[in-house]
């Protein structure tokens, strides 16, 4: 498309069940950039990702999210997707009876005009090629969407979807959790292969290790529902070495979390990161 891709989060406030989680987020990304959002658990990182995509649980109370000047917050979830947003989710849903390939084809066809649907052969070739890149067993085409997938398989499947859809703005919500180091490298390679002047990525993580493989241009630290510090790749390295305490000290923050309860709802079917 254009090198002038503009993605701007402007004063975003959002709450869940009446409790404010995001307290005015400010962030700007341009085509070709990768931004990382880091921070301890419970600081609002995943809420930011979900609110941008339009999860019904989160109520946006203030602010704008502009994709090339258009406020995506005015749009339905599917319209945001068609406008170019993609969210690789931390806990993707399982849909029984719907195969990965049927779903993927519907998603691609949603982006095309009626009567101009992608041909089956072309689709299969494309999907097989991407699956190979991501080292996903071709059998997964015919598996039901995320059903019975391991945590790592789900994450890889999210990246597969992103690679097929090729969005303008890819948001990766803790895509590294549940991945072993080999899978992490594959996923990172997948993201790096997509990287171009025409897209931008927002990577949410609380471990620096993913950023060893996907080099961010900017790193932001979230605490208490705000971005409290921004810097370059070196910020992530310092966080890895020293942890978050120095930032808390610097800013006089005692409890960095916000609206804690929701972050403690860890679904049963996920596995923690293998270190």
């Amino acid at each position: 498309m254009s090198k002038d891709l503009q993605f701007k989060i402007d004063g975003l406030k959002a709450s869940v069940d009446g409790k404010e989680i995001l307290k005015g987020i400010q962030l700007e990304m341009k085509g070709g950039e990768i931004h990382a959002i880091m921070g301890p658990n419970g600081t609002g990182k995943s809420t930011l990702a979900s609110a941008i995509m339009g999860h019904p649980k989160y109520e946006v109370t203030e602010g704008k999210v502009l994709l090339n000047e258009e406020d995506v917050l005015e749009m339905e979830v599917d319209e945001r997707a068609l406008a170019g947003l993609f969210l690789a989710m931390q806990y993707p849903s399982e849909i029984t009876g719907v195969t990965n390939s049927d779903f993927m084809r519907s998603a691609l066809n949603a982006r095309r005009e009626e009567g101009d649907e992608i041909s089956l052969i072309k689709f299969i070739r494309q999907m097989e090629a991407k699956m190979k890149e991501l080292e996903i067993d071709p059998q997964f085409m015919h598996r039901y969407l995320n059903e019975g997938f391991s945590g790592g398989e789900k994450k890889r499947n999210e990246i597969l979807q992103m690679a097929m859809i090729d969005p303008k703005v890819g948001i990766l919500d803790e895509i590294d959790s549940g991945l072993d180091i080999d899978a992490l490298k594959i996923v990172a390679a997948g993201v790096n292969a997509m990287r171009s002047e025409e897209n931008a990525f927002l990577i949410i993580t609380h471990y620096q290790r993913l950023l060893n493989y996907i080099k961010p241009d900017y790193v932001h630290v979230m605490m208490q529902g705000r971005i409290v510090k921004s810097g370059g790749a070196e910020l992530a390295e310092r966080l890895e070495a020293e942890g978050y305490d120095w930032i808390k000290e610097e800013l006089g923050i005692e409890d960095e979390t916000v609206g804690q309860e929701e972050e403690f709802q860890v679904p049963m079917n996920t596995t923690g990161p293998k270190l």
Binding site: P56, V77, D78, F86, G97, V98, F103, A107, A110
Partner: protein, 465 residues
């Protein structure tokens, strides 16, 4: 992108053809009506007696007081027999144009046209078109409408007719036995495996006309047949009754599969008795899809009579506004080491009501038998309801009975996930529903799976938001 779908008010198949009936009985059920039906069909004396005896049973038997609400069903307001044309078409060319047009409007898929050589298409009460595929004929397979079978194979017919579902079984079986007309008759000889499914396509077309078809299938030892029946009906304002009887006899080590998709208009009472007997080592499979109707009461049954017999029912039911699907299955284990499987998928929406009502019965000789029952319901809104009513009769302590039931809603998370990939809310909902019934659709022949998906899409339109 989502296409505009017709509203409920313009029910897709709600068109009528102008067509002239050659003979009809008028409304109401009397002895004279039964006599004139039998006479019109030139039936043998024993069949007239059978009908008259059934009529007596019908008058004696009480209306069922369980299941759905039958209060608005008026037996005097129903026409029991209409014969649409003098001669039955022997080739497709001979089928009246008007009737062909009806099929066109129904949009019978092209793939199905290929099978026309084997299609038994029932239009009103009479089969108007019927011919047999040559290779089937060579193998000795009999596939014709039930009326013709009575004339051409009187001995075979008499041996099995009414043996699986006797007229005294229930009020509607008695009614069907008194006034039956049309339906399919299939006999598969020993060792013959029919590779191509045998199909019948039929529909009710005349207002207030009951459809009382009678189907009889016999699979002789070591044989196999798959019979497929699809059905759509036009919409009318007054009540219509569909009351069929299906009898299947699976002889030793044979296998029969009976696939139905019924999409009845929302004013139809669909009260059907379907039952099969499975002898030693035989395998009977019912695949049963119920969409629409005002009330459906249907419980396909398998009597597992011989050692090692297997029975299965795979069904879906979709109930919308003002509709009640009271459906399920019956498995009666009468011999050792018999197994049965019931998978029931129901969807209710717009205040619709679905009831799973099923029976698993094990008698004293059923040691080593096993039954597995799974009932899943998807409820699409807060006005709709679902009930699961399993009956278990166990007279043997060496059996295994498993029952699982789930009730779910289309979850916010699932919708969000699918929509975040660009699917509209209605596409996403449809996808979740299609996934839910996938265990059913994957068992259908390709062209029916396509038709099924289309029907569900129409049914689901307006379920969103």
């Amino acid at each position: 992108m989502a296409k505009k779908m017709p509203e409920i008010g313009e029910y897709k198949y709600g068109f009528r053809d102008e067509h002239k009936a050659v003979f009809q009985t008028g409304k109401g059920l009397t002895k004279d009506v039964v006599i004139s039906i039998s006479k019109q069909k030139n039936e043998p004396e024993w069949m007239l007696e059978f009908r008259l005896k059934a009529l007596e049973q019908f008058n004696k038997l009480p209306m069922p007081r369980w299941g759905g609400n039958l209060d608005d069903l008026d037996f005097n307001d129903i026409q029991y027999y209409v014969k649409p044309s003098e001669t039955q078409g022997k080739t497709w060319e001979e089928v009246p144009t008007e009737i062909k047009e009806t099929f066109d409007k129904l949009g019978i898929p092209e793939a199905e046209q290929k099978f026309l050589a084997g299609v038994s298409a029932q239009y009103e009460s009479e089969v108007v078109y019927h011919s047999m595929q040559e290779d089937l004929e060579k193998q000795g397979v009999i596939f014709m409408d039930t009326d013709t079978a009575l004339k051409e194979y009187p001995e075979l017919f008499k041996e099995y007719f009414g043996t699986v579902v006797p007229p005294s079984d229930n009020k509607f079986a008695a009614l069907n036995s008194a006034v039956w007309s049309g339906g399919s008759f299939i006999y598969v000889p020993k060792g013959v495996k029919c590779e191509v499914p045998l199909q019948a396509y039929f529909r009710i077309n005349s207002e207030n006309m009951g459809q009382f078809e009678r189907t009889l299938i016999i699979t002789d030892e070591d044989s196999f047949v798959h019979y497929v029946e699809g059905c759509t009906a036009p919409i009318y304002s007054t009540n219509s009754l569909h009351s069929a009887v299906v009898e299947i006899v699976c002889r030793k080590n044979s296998r029969a599969r009976y696939t139905t998709i019924q999409n009845w208009a929302p004013n139809i009472y669909n009260l059907v008795t379907k039952r099969a007997v499975a002898e030693e080592g035989a395998n009977m499979e019912w695949v049963d899809g119920n969409i629409g109707s005002k009330l459906t009461m249907k419980y396909p049954a398998v009597l597992l009579k011989g050692r090692g017999a297997k029975g299965s029912v795979l069904s879906i039911a979709v109930a919308g506004k003002g509709q009640h699907q009271d459906a399920g299955a019956k498995m009666v284990h009468l011999a050792p080491e018999t197994t049965s499987t019931i998978v029931s998928k129901s969807i209710s929406k717009h205040g619709g009501k679905v009831t799973y009502r099923g029976l698993a019965s094990f008698n004293r000789k059923s040691q080593g038998s096993k039954a597995n029952i799974q009932c899943d319901t998807l409820i699409l809104d807060n006005e709709s309801t679902s009930d699961t009513i399993p009956y278990n009769e166990i007279l043997n302590d060496d059996i295994i009975l498993e029952h699982e039931a789930t009730v779910s809603k289309v979850s916010e998370e699932q919708l969000f996930y699918l929509m975040s990939r660009g699917l509209s809310e209605s596409e996403a909902t449809q996808m979740i529903i299609m996934g839910f019934i996938e265990p059913f659709t994957k068992e259908l022949p390709m062209e029916y799976a396509v038709e099924m998906n289309r029907l569900i899409k129409f049914e689901m339109e307006g379920s969103i938001g």
